[in-house]
């Protein structure tokens, strides 16, 4: 299946969805002008991927900032992953947060509460 590679900007995240190389990642800053238009291809890609996913999918979120409109779309993505998990697929979410960023850590905890899918929190140091 095709690969999505979007380079991040100061208001849109980097997105890599590459099933062949097993890279599934959203990172950076997310406050796109039109959130729905930005995330729509990503959701569509996941829908297609869910019909024949890899043996194991590790999905990485490494965001430093997202606005409230993006938070809703991120949940939509997580719910797609949850659905695959419910269908018996091996899924893992890795939620990275800067070690001094309690809000980003808490955002991860909140998502982990909402969706029923294996969820790992990983802190890292910003340089």
């Amino acid at each position: 299946m095709n690969t999505i590679k979007i380079m991040g900007t100061d208001d849109t995240p980097t997105v890599i969805l590459d099933s062949e190389n097993e890279i599934f990642e959203i990172s950076g800053r997310s406050l796109p002008e039109d959130v729905t238009a930005f995330y729509e291809p990503i959701i569509r890609w996941l829908e297609e991927y869910s019909s024949s996913p890899n043996a194991k999918t590790i999905f990485t979120f490494k965001l430093v900032y997202f606005n409230t409109a993006s938070s809703k779309l991120l949940l939509d993505i997580l719910m797609k992953l949850e659905q695959m998990h419910e269908d018996g697929k091996d899924m893992l979410i890795r939620w990275y947060y800067p070690e001094d960023d309690e809000d980003m850590q808490e955002a991860g905890e909140e998502y982990a509460d909402i969706v029923d899918v294996p969820f790992e929190q990983v802190s890292y140091t910003l340089n």
Binding site: L31, Y65, N67, T68, A69
Partner: protein
């Protein structure tokens, strides 16, 4: 401009300058709030805060609050049926910085018919504690729908959570149809 008008204008500019100084306003804008404006203002404020070595936590809070306030105006300032109405997506946006806190103030015209609903939403947020706000955010994220303009109904809740304070808002009556809605968010510089 004749001499008298020039003098009047100069006095206006000087008074405006003094007034901004007195209120410690670092940024003020009136007009349409676009995505480009949002990006420009947040990056300007970010670089100013970085220069002044504001803590990361405070910088992030101010950034969050600015983005949500600006998006509130761009999505909700009223257009009164006609798309090109003077007030659509427009408003005033101000940032002020004192010794102990930042204030982000927005003002925009809204239809009187919407005041009751808006007050209900804001008052509901204002009675909730930290845990209550968290639950409301989660519920709204799960159950809320994105509006046509991309609003998720989460902005006010996020502002209350990030600032840890009540939403300070007022309506100033303009005429029978409209009012001016003013919201001030305060971010402490010491926490």
């Amino acid at each position: 401009m004749d001499k008298k008008n020039v003098r009047g204008f100069l006095e206006f500019v000087y008074d405006f300058y003094k007034s901004m100084k007195a209120h410690e306003i670092t940024l003020v804008y009136e007009g349409e709030i676009t995505h480009q404006i949002t990006k420009a203002f947040t990056s300007l404020t970010e670089s100013n805060m970085a220069k002044e070595e504001e803590s990361n936590t405070v910088q992030k809070k101010v950034f969050h609050v600015m983005v949500e306030c600006l998006q509130n105006i761009s999505k909700h300032a009223d257009s009164f049926g006609s798309d090109d109405f003077l007030f659509a997506g427009r408003g005033i946006f101000m940032v002020s910085k004192g010794d102990v806190e930042y204030h982000v103030t927005t003002g925009n015209v809204i239809e009187n018919a919407k005041i009751e609903e808006l007050s209900r939403i804001l008052d509901h947020i204002n009675v909730l504690d930290k845990e209550g706000l968290k639950q409301l955010y989660k519920t709204q994220m799960r159950e809320g729908r994105l509006s046509e303009k991309g609003g998720a109904g989460l902005g006010f809740i996020d502002i209350a959570r990030k600032t840890g304070r009540r939403l300070d808002y007022h309506f100033l009556s303009i005429d029978e149809e409209t009012s001016f809605f003013i919201l001030t968010s305060t971010i402490s510089r010491t926490e």
